[in-house]
């Protein structure tokens, strides 16, 4: 059954794709783009079209394959067909015609002086809003399909109602509406890693159909709301809703921008295929929409904002040491990180959300594998001053933090109000950047030393938090030479049992020595620190080994972090 349904869905998608994969769709942008196909049409409509014969000069011959040139040289202009699309684009500017022979150039100029009516401008799908498709993507692509996979795509051999969450009905929906929100018992990875990625799909239901960041955020929140209330038998979890909605918006916008950056609407052939596949890996909903609309094979201008003013993707590998939270033993492990910086924080010409963002992703050689992810995306920013030697701006960012290593478990979705400053030092290439931030955190989570959810296994607390952050860095030639960052959050536990508060701090100082333009050696010294304050009622926590009530004193834990690594810049 599940295989048949999956197959049907794939066929459904391919049907749309097949309809729209017809080759040779041309699009006029703001300036007239003249391909060989269009040129052929123009010549055939010209008064003396049958007398015009095009030949290639030597420069052009070098650029194109012999089979194309042979056909091009031997046939009359009326015979020119779409196969010559490989020839590429010609504009009506004379200098572009210089690649043709003088005789052809003369003839072409005559033809171009009497062009056919300009084709109707193509309106890219994402430049206008498509509510129907956005709702379709939200409800079917991101809700009904995954639910159906869960419901019919696996064997549910556990008889427990709580374990059979896709077995929904009117009764479960009504029960969820009656009971209202709760904090769920899912493990940390599910709540702070899987839900944000799920939310990015909801978000891109809107974003891939012409809606802006804020509007698409509503799609993420609405999609999560529908899922929580209608598609699970479990009581709706507010932590899921926040993590899916807010962190989903952050991930969704990052993935949308990366997808747009790697997809080239003007590319053709195999290059185009690969850019579409790459874009689809970043953003499957966008690929689906492009398949449906046929934009995967249509040639049209890229959006103006496709490539940011600054983009830096770098990878590093090294080792790190820190102390295990549970065993107090120092552990050494391998560490790999990817860092992306998109746009510059002091560029105020375009202040759309996430026109500047930074994303960090780290995996370690010990369990858990994915150990940290951080995303910082600019929502709005205001320039306070812009002088030659100093710039200051106020910025609101949407942050996502995921730390899951043996020293610290901490996750959040945060709004940060920041004061950013940049000072250009004596040497023009040397810049000092500072930031000071206030963190407002709708949903944070960190370890609880005593509580363990006996049903689902949750061993951490969730709630709202307030915090602060500060940092500075010295930058030269696109590399940071020194970076110091610190953040602290105070979390008031709201998930039951709500008998705790936590102060979480982490900081890091990085020194990087550029060895080559694209290669640096780095050393990092940092710490993770958690102070947890408990006020469980006497006898609330039972020691599983003795069966006796357990005391719950406050806990303070600190782990140093030392890293050595090599880093290389990819872009």
């Amino acid at each position: 059954m599940p295989i048949k349904k999956t197959t049907l869905l794939i066929l459904f998608v391919l049907f749309f794709a097949g309809v729209n994969f017809s080759p040779g769709q041309e699009t006029a942008g703001s300036k007239e783009v003249l391909t060989l196909k269009k040129l052929s049409e123009k010549i055939s409509y010209a008064e003396n079209g049958d007398k015009i014969k095009l030949t290639l000069n030597s420069i052009t011959r070098e650029r194109y394959s012999s089979s194309v040139i042979k056909s091009f040289s031997n046939k009359s202009n009326k015979a020119l067909s779409k196969k010559y699309d490989d020839f590429g684009d010609l504009t009506s500017k004379d200098n572009n015609l210089l690649t043709l022979s003088p005789k052809s150039k003369y003839s072409l100029k005559n033809v171009i002086s009497n062009p056919l009516p300009t084709p109707e401008k193509y309106v890219p799908w994402e430049s206008t809003k498509h509510f129907g498709w956005a709702v379709f993507d939200e409800l079917f692509f991101n809700i009904a399909f995954p639910w159906a996979l869960a419901r019919f795509g696996r064997d549910w051999d556990s008889p427990g109602q709580g374990e059979r969450w896709p077995f929904i009905g009117w009764q479960s929906i009504w029960s969820n509406l009656n009971n209202g929100w709760n904090y769920d018992g899912d493990n940390f990875q599910t709540n702070y890693f899987a839900h944000p990625f799920g939310g990015s799909l909801f978000f891109n239901s809107g974003r891939s159909n012409g809606y802006n960041f804020w509007e698409s955020g509503a799609f993420a929140l609405a999609g999560s709301f529908i899922w929580e209330h209608f598609m699970e038998t479990n009581q709706p979890a507010i932590n899921d809703w926040v993590n899916t909605g807010l962190n989903g918006a952050a991930f969704g916008e990052i993935l949308y921008r990366l997808s747009t950056m790697v997809t080239d609407n003007t590319a053709r052939g195999s290059h185009r295929v690969w850019t579409e596949i790459a874009g689809g890996l970043f953003n499957p909903v966008r690929l689906f929409q492009r398949l449906v609309t046929g934009e995967v094979s249509r040639v049209f201008p890229n959006p103006e904002w496709r490539k940011p003013d600054y983009f830096n993707l770098n990878l590093d590998a090294g080792t790190q040491v820190f102390t295990n939270d549970s065993s107090d033993v120092k552990e050494l492990e391998g560490m790999f990180e990817m860092n992306i910086v998109y746009g510059t924080p002091f560029e105020h010409k375009r202040t759309t959300p996430f026109s500047h963002f930074a994303f960090n992703f780290g995996i370690g050689t010990t369990s858990p594998t994915v150990q940290n992810m951080h995303a910082i995306g600019s929502l709005v920013s205001f320039q306070i001053s812009d002088k030659k030697t100093a710039k200051h701006s106020l910025e609101t960012t949407l942050n996502y933090d995921y730390i899951n290593n043996v020293a610290l478990i901490y996750g959040n979705a945060a709004f940060v109000e920041k004061l950013n400053s940049e000072y250009i030092l004596n040497n023009k290439d040397l810049r000092l950047r500072t930031n000071l931030g206030l963190r407002i955190i709708p949903m944070a989570a960190t370890s609880d030393d005593y509580f363990l959810d006996s049903t689902d296994g949750r061993n951490y607390d969730m709630g709202q938090a307030l915090g602060a952050s500060a940092g500075f860095g010295l930058y030269k030639d696109g590399w940071s030479i020194l970076e110091v960052a610190y953040a602290m959050d105070y979390l008031w536990t709201q998930s039951e049992p709500a008998f705790s508060e936590h102060l979480v701090q982490w900081g890091e100082a990085r020194f990087q020595l550029p060895l080559k333009e694209y290669f640096v050696f780095g050393l990092s010294f940092g710490f993770y620190k958690r102070n947890s304050y408990y006020h469980y009622p006497d006898g609330f926590i039972i020691d599983p080994n003795t069966g006796q009530p357990k005391a719950t004193p406050d806990v303070g834990f600190q782990s140093p972090l030392i890293r050595a690594y090599f880093k290389t810049r990819i872009f």
Binding site: L177, G180, N182, L221, A222, P236, S495, E496, P497, P537
Partner: protein
């Protein structure tokens, strides 16, 4: 419900008074007169002018809440009013902030487990998405924020402390505005409320009493024409 009827009658009385007004286009110098100009839905519906009808607005609403779940076992229903301000954002969005006063009614036949006086002041923000902008303007809405809850006189336990607390509140719904003049209109909506009060916690034997319910809203709208 009587109050809703009164609101509707009041609105009709305004539009009735303005029937004698002319249908000339709006002039700044004549803004007062224009504010009472009646809208002819037959002429205006679908016209390009009407695509611009969404504007900043102030509205006063009355709400009747039909409680759900365990909360309903203690508090039968509630009602209150709110003062709202809506800021228009192109092309279909209205950001809304609001505050007011609500009271929940403790069930007379319950002898323990709840407070005789249960009131709260909501401070909410959120938005509406208008799916159609015309004389009749349906929308979906989402609001969230905090409820400052004051609960006193616990029934069944004289030693139980009174409570003043702040809880997160959330609401989704749909409704519509109907503009009877360029400036005045009415609003009605049905919302699902889901606000924190007492979480369920099997560990301490606490059953959940989240403030869930359906809210029926009627109100008066004043639009600031752009």
């Amino acid at each position: 419900m009587k109050i809703i009827l009164l609101i509707i009658v009041f609105c009709f009385s305004i539009t009735g008074l303005s029937l004698s007004q002319s249908l000339t286009p709006l002039k700044l110098s004549d803004i007062k007169k224009e504010s009472l100009e009646i809208v002819n839905p037959v002429i205006k519906a679908g016209s390009s002018d009407y695509k611009k009808e969404l504007s900043d607005q102030i509205f006063v609403t009355y709400s009747y809440i039909q409680n759900l779940g365990n909360f309903k076992d203690y508090y039968s229903d509630g009602q209150g009013f709110m003062l709202n301000y809506g800021k228009y954002f192109p092309n279909s969005w209205l950001a809304v902030v609001r505050s007011g006063y609500f009271k929940q009614n403790f069930k007379v036949d319950v002898d323990s487990g709840g407070f005789n006086n249960f009131n709260y002041i909501p401070i909410h923000f959120g938005g509406r998405f208008y799916v159609y902008k015309n004389v009749f303007m349906p929308y979906f809405s989402f609001m969230n924020g905090i409820n400052i809850i004051s609960a006193t006189d616990f029934v069944g336990d004289v030693n139980h402390d009174d409570e003043t607390t702040v809880k997160y509140a959330f609401q989704v719904g749909f409704g519509f505005d109907v503009k009877f003049t360029r400036n005045f209109g009415v609003n009605a909506s049905i919302n699902y409320n889901n606000s924190f009060w007492e979480d369920s916690d099997p560990g301490i034997g606490q059953e959940g009493k989240m403030m869930t319910g359906f809210e029926y809203v009627g109100g008066l709208v004043y639009n600031f024409n752009r």
